[in-house]
């Protein structure tokens, strides 16, 4: 799976939405019903699936599916893979 596909699959799993229905312009809260607990669940699932680490500052700016797709592409996996 490509990075994009994996990311969309994780978003679909956490939001319990159909992966095919997820579009980049979707807002996490307005369109996918996220609250802060769901947002944090999504972050750790993405970090585990992709071997990346998202900083608190970066996380605070993630509002839409497109924001997430953009940020995972800029992040290199850390030298030390995250636990869990």
């Amino acid at each position: 799976m490509s990075l994009r596909e994996t990311t969309l699959a994780v978003i679909a799993k956490v939001s319990k939405a159909d992966a095919a229905a997820i579009r980049p312009d979707m807002d996490l809260v307005a369109d996918l019903g996220f609250d802060s607990a769901k947002a944090l669940e999504l972050l750790v699932e993405l970090e585990d699936a992709l071997g990346i680490e998202v900083s608190d500052e970066q996380a605070a700016r993630l509002n839409s599916v497109g924001d997430i797709l953009a940020i995972v592409e800029t992040l290199e996996p850390p030298t030390q893979p995250p636990r869990g």
């Binding site: 996490l28 809260v29 019903g33 609250d35 669940e41 605070a60 993630l62």
Partner: protein, 582 residues
């Protein structure tokens, strides 16, 4: 007070000094933001740190009885700031850090408004908080922010008598809680309340086990935010006063990996911990059967559930799920409390599991409860009574407003004599919660106040409505009203009703989405439902005051006429949010 409390410290400053001397091996362990590693320090070290930082706060010109905000995450920097201010004789005011998804700008705005309302000159915050607030043009960012670096670089001044004697009835700190004007209210907590309440709680917690909890337990494990009364009083003051270890996770670490909390509860000897219903529900949902392996909850002797309505469906499912992993169902114990009572008001002291009665007529339909939960009996020296709207005291079994009196009751809302006078009379505080007494135990059935409690956090409808109105044009074309309805184990969720003259259904989707985005980004709050109605359909009194309770009743009855097919623009992924219970 009984003889037992005669030897209690008379101030929190004295309490910290005693903890340092009497419990040299006990202390506080704080995990990093991801809950991976932790840094532990003894109470002796905390005392040293706080004394030093008190002198530096004095050097920065912070005076006695001066409110200073602390907007830091759960960390040793938080301890250095909060306890430093306490030792200085100033009033620390713990304020929320930026929540995930809640815009930083909304947090700066809140800090700015709180500082103005309580006359605070300073907020202790991180360098990135200062820099960002400065970029966004907030005035307090210039001289008002004390970063930890600035604090540590300050020349210490002699604090003189600052760390000395204070009257037990003096204000120790301010606790922020939601207020109706769109601004948090600052609850004045006294030294007496902040000492008596945890000590009385310790007794009540240990009651079914035969002795005060501190004789049985090693530690408290908490993920609750320190700006919340349950986190600050229950999980920091109580262990410090009773000589127990405190293991503190950040809320974000728990929300990201709820299992961390349960792992820690089983790792440091006999433990106890509180959480709102939502915390137990999150463990159930996010730690499915195949992820429970290796958990050992045998050491968790008291699991408190409070700060929001206790849902019997959650507690029984939690017991069933975790009993095979050592959890004792009898250790799950409901409690009731609120910031204006310092924290605890009642505890279940029977310790025979969650006990319920069938919900009586008059139970709020919006809470969707078939059974109501016993929250137990008042803690020591504390009285409880139910009153009718005319103020008369009701007999057992009758539903009325819960009123409390005792050493934990707050001194008043700081700089808000009107709100104080409206709720605090002759030592009795009218809580705004509705319930009844049966065999001396408190059962909650609803609320008189228009308040939403989502995941243990109190939210005033005005805050939601202001954001919705900012999209719709407020007093112009549209006007909104917000309330909550409970959806089974998911607990309370927010619903917004918008009055509109708009006739084009295509516009509803557009405006609705904008409202959801605005509320989501500012408050981190998803809406379970958003309803458009004709103008004039939100009921009002003759004087024009919105009647949210009546509106909510119509919504629940299904008699509210929607201008669109229900539900409007349901978020794809919000499984729990479906049709209201009818």
């Amino acid at each position: 007070m009984t003889a037992d409390t005669a030897s209690l410290p008379t101030s929190l400053r004295e309490a910290l000094r005693r903890a340092a001397l009497d419990f040299p091996h006990r202390g506080i362990a704080i995990f990093d933001s991801r809950g991976r590693s932790c840094e532990r320090q003894s109470y002796a070290e905390l005392y040293r740190l706080a004394t030093e930082s008190a002198a530096r706060f004095a050097g920065l010109g912070i005076g006695r009885d001066e409110p200073v905000l602390v907007a830091l995450p759960t960390s040793w920097e938080w301890m250095e700031a909060w306890f430093g201010l306490l030792m200085r004789g100033a009033w620390p005011v713990a304020s929320s850090g930026a929540g995930a998804m809640a815009a930083a700008e909304a947090q700066f705005d809140k800090v700015d408004k709180v500082m103005a309302a309580i006359g605070a000159r300073h907020v202790v915050a991180s360098e990135s908080f200062r820099a960002q607030a400065g970029e966004q043009g907030f005035g307090f960012a210039h001289e008002g922010v004390i970063t930890i670096e600035r604090l540590r670089g300050a020349l210490p001044a002699r604090t003189g008598s600052a760390a000395g004697v204070s009257d037990a009835g003096d204000v120790a700190f301010l606790q922020l809680t939601s207020g109706s004007t769109g601004l948090p209210r600052a609850v004045m907590i006294t030294h007496q309340g902040a000492i008596h309440n945890p000590v009385a709680s310790d007794e009540a917690i240990g009651a079914p086990l035969g002795e005060p909890m501190h004789r049985l337990a090693e530690c408290m494990v908490s993920w609750l935010p320190l700006y919340h009364d349950m986190g600050l009083i229950g999980c920091l003051m109580l262990p410090m006063l009773c000589g127990l270890d405190s293991w503190l996770l950040r809320p974000e670490a728990f929300l990201a990996r709820p299992r961390l909390w349960l792992e820690q509860l089983g790792s440091h000897g006999t433990s106890f911990a509180p959480a709102p219903n939502f915390g137990y529900q999150l463990c159930l949902e996010r730690i499915p059967a195949d992820k429970r392996e290796g958990l050992d909850l045998g050491a968790w002797r008291a699991a408190f559930t409070g700060a929001e309505m206790v849902r019997p469906e959650t507690t029984s499912a939690f017991c069933a799920a975790f009993e095979p992993h050592g959890f004792r169902p009898e250790s799950l114990r409901p409690c009731y409390g609120l910031a204006e009572g310092t924290l605890a008001v009642t505890f279940d002291v029977k310790g025979s599991g969650v006990r319920t009665l069938p919900a009586p007529a008059g139970t709020d339909a919006g809470f969707a409860m078939t059974d109501v939960v016993s929250n137990g009996v008042p803690i020591r020296d504390t009285s409880l009574r139910m009153t009718a709207p005319d103020g008369s005291v009701l007999p057992d079994g009758a539903i009325g407003e819960v009123c409390i009196k005792g050493p934990g009751v707050f001194r008043g809302y700081y700089r808000d004599p009107e709100a104080t006078a409206a709720t605090l009379k002759n030592g009795w505080f009218s809580t705004g919660d509705l319930g009844f007494l049966a065999a001396g135990e408190l059962y909650l059935t609803g609320r008189t106040k228009d308040l939403l409690i989502v995941h243990g956090h109190n939210i005033m409808p005005d805050d939601i409505e202001r954001l919705a109105d900012s999209v719709t044009g407020g007093g112009g074309l549209m006007r909104s009203a917000a309330f909550s309805v409970a959806r089974g184990a998911a607990g309370e969720q927010a619903v917004v009703v918008v009055e509109t003259a708009e006739a084009d259904p295509a516009r509803f989707a557009e405006i609705g989405r904008e409202i959801r985005i605005r509320i989501g980004r500012t408050m981190g709050l998803p809406l379970a439902d958003l309803v458009f109605v004709r103008r004039g359909r939100i009921p009002r009194t003759t004087s024009g005051k919105m009647q949210r309770g009546e509106l909510r009743q119509r919504y629940l009855d299904g008699t509210l006429e929607r201008l669109h097919d229900a539900p409007m623009h349901e978020p794809t992924g919000h499984g729990a949010a479906k049709e209201p219970n009818r």
